[in-house]
Subunit: 204 residues, 2 copies
Amino acid sequence: MPQGVPAVVPDDGLTTRQRRNSALLAVHTGDGKGKSTAAFGMAMRAWNAGLDIGVFQFVKNAKWKVGEETAMTALGELHDRTGQGGPVQWHKMGSGWSWIRHGDAETDHAAQAREGWTEIARRLREETHDFYVLDEFTYPLGWGWIELDEVLDALAERPGKQHVVITGRRAPEGLVAAADLVTDMTKTKHPMDAGRKGQKGIEW
Amino acid sequence: MPQGVPAVVPDDGLTTRQRRNSALLAVHTGDGKGKSTAAFGMAMRAWNAGLDIGVFQFVKNAKWKVGEETAMTALGELHDRTGQGGPVQWHKMGSGWSWIRHGDAETDHAAQAREGWTEIARRLREETHDFYVLDEFTYPLGWGWIELDEVLDALAERPGKQHVVITGRRAPEGLVAAADLVTDMTKTKHPMDAGRKGQKGIEW
């Protein structure tokens, strides 16, 4: 466990406090479990610190995340009712993004993914949230639906202190290079290998 | 993302449903971030499925997990008040286990760790919880404070359907062999390497 002692003190002209409080870009990648789960665990921690949370799920079928969505939404409602923690918004591509009134399930997935990214880029410019989860965002990047350079620019130029966590397999090199924290989740052993199927409360 | 299609169908005489519903032993190990965070993310999902959650933290100083503790406890209180989700208990070794009235910070850490394990073994026998997080449990195992064989026996013999997630670096081989799901979190890049210290909402 890190005990708060940095390995090196960089010569960047910043105070320890400035460095500590700078915005984090984290990437959870690899073929193992826990990429999204760890991102939502981080969101839970950010909620407790009173940060404004925005989750954006870049998957057509979101059934595997319903547990996290319900729990995080419950925490957001707790904030709205009692002031504890921070507010939570959860948006998913599956049924058309929730900010788009004319959500049309027949829309082209690539176009939906781009719409999602355009909205996120707008929110980053306007500092809408403090903590963003871009779940499974590496896939539309890998498929060329969203331009990596555009994403890297928007992340590099994001004002204030907005933390961003991006999950998904095969994170592009440029994204890994830009990130402050990259964790590779490696599958050592998985029950699906032994012929088990997913179960409620564990897999979704 | 696993889509529920097992790689092989084992010849173990169980139906798919029986296999799906069997209890899971998961281990999150490796030197990277996200071991505990992913475990608490899983607990959030289990909470949503109405499972009874028991978290046991095997660390003397628990400051790094206060965000998860507060959020999970808030979800547990939500359950107690409204019936949504499942109940949550969060126990930590740091201040003497919460089920011990005479919590004495001066007690030997090894003895405290053993007391913790003894209680968990009792709960497993009595099917007290549905979903256990044994956070940083690999350390007292590695230090020889708790007998690995005793743990493996108790896990193998646990009745009913009790899921157990164990976190920490250097998981012992025997534990890895016994587990259904092992994920190795590998550090690719970490902000502490660049001289940053932890910050509220992100690191704790």
